[in-house]
């Protein structure tokens, strides 16, 4: 064991050095001028920008655009961590026996990876990558100066890195403490009694970290609600509020009720573990209470994660179809309907726990009902493309992939919502397949689509289009191979959450299962390869991609779709050109005149000095 632990320590060390290296690279990012805020100050302070240089700029920023970028970088790091852990798991699963991970801790290590993968992808990648887009673009889309509370915005972000360190803490401490503290092995659902009784302090660290990340998400949600309600410019009303902001508003409302409830449940679990309370003990609230509380949070959480990506696709897909979003109003109504209904379906995760059959049936009804607004959206996207002038750019490819994957992910969900089917398929790979079609096939895909769509706006550079298409096709093919294999594995009865599968042939056809696992692993490597291309493309294009000079890089004016954020971008480009001529750095005179407050502020500051 000692040797392997040493190896693991070295691996962690390398990872941390990598992070530090990344941070120090940020020093160079001082040359990064987000368009529009890099111009110099006003009055006589031409030597100052609005922001300090170097690393300090990123630690102190309260600019929503910078914070959006920070969220994006953070989510990408988490995506890499979650991806690495799942690749180790997929390698282990190529054979029925325990081999690849045998030296690293065997089943316990596999369980740790499983837990870390789920929690990381949902809480440290999913929520933050959405926050990245929301921070950067919601204020631009609604014509606000910034978020309603810029400082709370920054606090919410800075709670996340410590949260990740706590959540992953078990991995770091295992080699240091000789295995006395290990990675948590509770799975992302943290079911009691297992999670209450595992003595490992790594579980406590993870619960604390999760709580911290929940505080961050709640602060963010409060901020978005206040921003969208009160900071809209005069020209933006509820009837023409863009679809992405609508989904962020709905998502924030869901977060407000879901995350604090999880937060309390986590604290209750911590108290059970450390102070002999009985919240989830048999003689107290019972283990089933955990499941109720967790899924009352957990099901809204899946919509917290999927509604904004749906908003992104509803926003981007029409741009490359040359048509307006079909049925804008119905897409919004369906968003709101999903938001409300999502609090009434949680027990479909608990069909096999022996809850009251009448209650079970009503949850089945609501779960089936939620498929209706979901289908409304799907048909709206398809009708938007129908007869449109479709341009297969990378963002559009990801949008189309998103819709296709949703059809499979959604329909498998409807199957699972039917009690008799769920009783057979519950806790098999079918469930894992269902939600991966959605979380990878939709949430990640929408994220990639949006990253490509807005890459020119955020970086001022253009990405490499061929590589982006490779990224899409490898991802789509990899997703299809891996997650179809999962669905088939589920039909064959392969239970989820196992590192080995050496069952007797009487229970399940072992050869087929082995083959399907190998297929899934191959698919996972195809996905991995696609993502490596993506990271390379992003880094390389950011550093030396062609500079975008056109305020309309997607030719949206032709179809009258040159939307607010790109109008802003265009103004910034022209302002930057002007600033070459102006000594005061692009602050045109008429603007200062138009803005009494700012002049006053400048005067005040001069007085103070």
């Amino acid at each position: 064991m000692a040797g392997e632990q040493l190896a693991l320590t070295v691996l962690m060390g390398v990872f941390l050095v990598g992070v530090v290296a990344l941070l120090s690279r940020m020093e160079d990012l001082r040359t990064y001028t987000p368009l529009g805020s890099g111009s110099a100050g006003y009055g006589d302070e031409t030597s100052h920008g609005h922001k300090p240089a170097g690393l300090i700029r990123w630690l102190t920023t309260v600019d929503h655009k910078d914070i959006g970028i920070l969220y994006g970088v953070y989510a990408t790091i988490a995506f890499v961590w979650g991806g690495m852990s799942v690749m180790l798991m997929r390698l282990e699963l190529t054979t029925p026996a325990m081999d690849v991970l045998a030296g690293l801790g065997g089943n316990a290590f596999y369980n740790g990876l499983l837990t870390s993968h789920g929690i990381t992808m949902l809480f440290l990648f999913g929520t933050p990558i959405i926050a990245a887009f929301a921070n950067y673009f919601v204020p631009l889309l609604i014509g606000a100066d910034d978020m309603a509370f810029p400082r709370i915005n920054a606090i919410a972000f800075w709670l996340l890195p410590p949260a990740a360190l706590l959540i992953w803490g078990g991995f770091f401490l295992a080699p240091l403490t000789g295995g006395a503290v290990e990675a948590a092995q509770t799975s992302w659902t943290m079911y009691t009694p297992l999670s209450a009784e595992q003595a490992n302090a790594g579980v406590d660290l993870m619960l604390l970290g999760l709580h911290l990340s929940g505080v961050s998400a709640t602060m963010g949600a409060i901020n978005f609600v206040a921003t969208i309600f009160t900071e809209r410019s005069g020209k933006v009303n509820w009837a023409n509020l863009d679809i992405f902001s609508w989904t962020i508003l709905t998502q924030s409302a869901l977060i407000l009720f879901a995350f604090p409830l999880l937060g309390s449940a986590l604290i209750m679990l911590l108290l059970d573990r450390n102070f002999a309370t009985t919240f989830f003990a048999v003689e107290g609230g019972s283990p089933i209470l955990w499941q109720h509380l967790f899924w009352f949070f957990g099901h809204p959480e899946v919509y917290i994660l999927v509604l904004p990506p749906m908003g992104l696709v509803s926003w981007i897909l029409p741009k490359f179809s040359g048509r307006k979003l079909f049925g804008y109003k119905f897409v919004i109504y369906s968003t709101l309907a999903i938001g409300v209904l999502s609090f009434g379906v949680w027990a479909h995760h608990m069909f096999s726990t022996g809850i009251n059959p009448r209650i079970r049936a009503s949850f089945m009804a609501v779960s089936l009902a939620i498929a209706i607004p979901s289908a409304v959206k799907t048909f709206n996207w398809i009708t938007t493309m129908w007869n449109g002038k479709i341009r297969l750019t990378a963002p559009m490819l990801f949008c189309i992939g998103f819709v296709a994957n949703f059809v499979i992910g959604g329909i498998t969900g409807v199957f699972l919502a039917a009690i008799p089917i769920d009783l057979v398929l519950h806790d098999t790979y079918y469930v894992v397949g269902h939600f991966h079609w959605i979380v990878m096939g939709m949430i990640a895909f929408a994220g990639f689509g949006a990253i490509y769509y807005w890459f020119p706006l955020v970086t001022g550079k253009m990405y490499q289009k061929t590589l982006a298409k490779w990224h899409f096709w490898l991802s789509e093919i990899g997703v299809s191979i891996t997650f179809f294999a999962f669905l088939l594995l589920g039909y064959l009865g392969m239970p989820r959450r196992y590192a080995t599968y050496e069952f007797s042939g009487a229970i399940a056809p072992l050869t087929q299962i082995t083959t399907l696992h190998q297929v899934a692993t191959v698919g996972a490597f195809i996905i991995l390869f696609g993502q490596i291309i993506w990271v390379w493309n992003m880094a390389q294009s950011y550093i030396e991609g062609p500079v975008v000079q056109d305020g309309d890089p997607w030719d949206l004016k032709e179809t009258g779709q040159h939307s607010r954020e790109f109008q802003w971008f265009e103004e910034e480009l022209t302002a930057d050109e002007d600033s070459l001529a102006l000594t005061d750095g692009g602050e045109s005179d008429d603007e200062i005149r138009a803005d009494g407050g700012e002049v006053e502020a400048a005067v005040r500051r001069v007085d103070d000095e």
């Binding site: 805020s37 100050g41 302070e45 100052h48 609005h50 922001k51 300090i56 630690l59 920023t61 309260v62 910078d66 631009l140 014509g143 100066d145 309603a148 400082r151 709370i152 915005n153 920054a154 606090i155 972000f157 800075w158 410590p162 706590l166 503290v181 302090a201 660290l205 970290g209 911290l212 409060i222 609600v225 206040a226 009160t230 410019s233 005069g234 009720f257 604090p260 409830l261 309390s264 449940a265 108290l271 102070f275 009985t278 919240f279 003990a281 003689e283 107290g284 609230g285 019972s286 209470l289 910034e572 602050e587 045109s588 603007e591 803005d595 407050g597 700012e598 502020a601 005040r604 500051r605």
Partner: protein, 285 residues
């Protein structure tokens, strides 16, 4: 900077014009400091966990020390943040405070969920695991005169706060400051009563948080509520000090409004709590 819509009234308002570090418009150390302080509290809790059990990995003092230091750092950050965001520019800011009121409303919505989880636990126990009750519940002594007095005190504090606000709007400053101070005092007395009750129950009656299903609910919910009252008292204290420094006018009193919303909310939660957790425990259906 031309991102502001020129046609409209306002240009681009920088969020942190006079902050530390000075001389920039979009930079402030305070959020970072606040977040590190807050995260340090969690780190302290984590170290506390590591210090328990058979083989302590760190001494207990490390965890406690980290927690205390972090709370200090957190409060410093909080001070810097709120000072620069709200207090320093109080007289010059043109904010109508509608965003802050909206934010407080959203926060209170989230608080419903925070308390909800604890109440749901209690209802589970009340309905399904109502055995093995502590003798305080068996005898009905859990609902003591202390609770009644404390409840009355908290209700009165809501009333005094309301009339403080009315007085401010009527531009009766003396009355405003006086009633505000009285509210703060009542809040502190409530907390004292709560501490006294805990002392009675734990030290005298031997009824602790580990005392079965009801004990978990009792200390979980009253503890959570007590934390909220403490935070409320801090907020009231800030408003009180600001009022002593002459801030607030009949037109400009956003934080009086938001803190009132919070205080009334905490008051209502307490009444609900008394009804279900104290009275609901001793009446038999």
């Amino acid at each position: 900077m031309s991102h502001a819509d020129e046609e409209e009234d306002g240009g681009h308002h920088l969020p942190a014009v006079e902050d530390w570090p000075r001389g920039f418009g979009e930079a402030s150390w305070w959020p970072f400091v606040t977040a590190i302080g807050a995260a340090g509290i969690y780190l302290g809790a984590a170290m506390y966990v590591l210090s328990t059990g058979d083989s302590a990995l760190v001494p207990l003092s490390y965890g406690l020390g980290t927690a205390v230091a972090s709370i200090g750092l957190f409060l410093v950050g909080l001070y810097g943040w709120t000072y620069h965001a709200f207090i320093k520019a109080y007289w010059t800011s043109e904010s109508t405070g509608v965003g802050l009121r909206m934010g407080m409303l959203a926060f209170l919505g989230s608080e419903i969920a925070t308390f909800g989880a604890g109440f749901i636990y209690y209802f589970f126990v009340r309905a399904d695991a109502w055995t093995d009750l502590p003798h305080l519940v068996e005898s009905g002594n859990i609902f003591s005169s202390l609770v009644i007095v404390n409840t009355v005190i908290l209700i009165i504090s809501s009333v005094t706060l309301h009339y403080a606000h009315v007085a401010l709007r009527d531009d009766d400053r003396r009355r405003f400051v006086g009633l505000l101070g009285l509210t703060l005092l009542l809040g502190v007395v409530f907390l004292g009563g709560q501490a006294l009750e805990y002392y009675e129950f734990i030290a005298v009656e031997g009824f602790t948080i580990a005392e079965g299903a009801y004990g978990s609910a009792f200390y979980g919910l009253t503890g959570l509520h007590g934390l909220h009252v403490s935070l409320g008292a801090v907020l009231l204290g800030i408003v009180f000090v600001r009022s002593l420094f002459g801030q607030y006018t009949p037109e400009k009193h956003t934080s009086v409004t938001t803190v009132s919303m919070y205080w009334h909310f905490v008051d209502v939660v307490w009444i609900f709590l008394v009804v279900v957790l104290y009275v609901g425990a001793i009446i038999s259906v």
